[in-house]
Amino acid sequence: MKKFKNRFGVIPNVSDRAYFTNSMHVPVWEEITPFHKVDIEGQLTGYSSAGCITYVEVDSKVMNNIDALESIINYMMDSDIPYAAVNFPIDNCKDCGYSGAFEGDTCPICESENIEHLGRVTGYLSSDVRRFNYGKQSEFKERVDHEEHILI
């Protein structure tokens, strides 16, 4: 991105962040329902031979909602999505072994700070998102859960 900016400057929605967004993906910061996102990306992924993973970002509580997982996976299969993942935060405590979504960098059970945040960026899994490079960490931080908020 540094080299790109040196050569082409800051172009809105192209090089104004710390990372690039694949042109066949809805950007991570967009507030959109998972189904609407799949509707859009399902039309585009066929033009790519690689790098076309479709993400759906949800709350960790999806672990208690297998019905929801099934709905979105079936919807993706029906929408010509060749490569897909449902992402939700999983944090592990390396001291007591508790696994779940932590608020911050502390285990909610034993209060240990010896923890790791599992995450996936551009298809790559890391056992601790804090080990990703600056661009990937920025992308990870700017993600929003895929749901729609209405107040009119």
Partner: protein, 157 residues
Amino acid sequence: MNYSGIVNCSIVDGIGFRTTLFISGCKHCCEGCQNPQTWDFNAGRPYTEEVEEILFDRISEDYIKGLTLSGGDPLYSADEVYELLVRFRERFGDTKSVWLYTGFKYEYCKEHFSKILDLCDVLVDGTYKCSERDTTLAFRGSRNQRVIDLKSGEEMF
């Protein structure tokens, strides 16, 4: 009746993808409440026909399992909620489910809000208690709260 917002495609307010209506106004005032900004009966915006049209429109999608009423506590607006549910069943019949979150207990609801319960499928009951907090529970925040199937009267999780 005011509402504090609608979340469409929620996965934390009941089984499947759901559309959740947060109804303003609550007098339980639990310590550690997730949405204290919804306690005020004047919070948010008026729940109008236009809002209901958007709400029902979202729910009509095949991938939405149904409506969840949350808040606030919907049962402090029992008259309006009853009428809303009658219109909901007129439109959707039994093709969609209704989950209701309340701070009142199931036994109290059966006595005072039976007409509303008759139109719902699942009740999540009881006030939120910090001392009973458990983040691993399905669809509720503290151990004293129950997820009750209203057809059988049995707890679900």
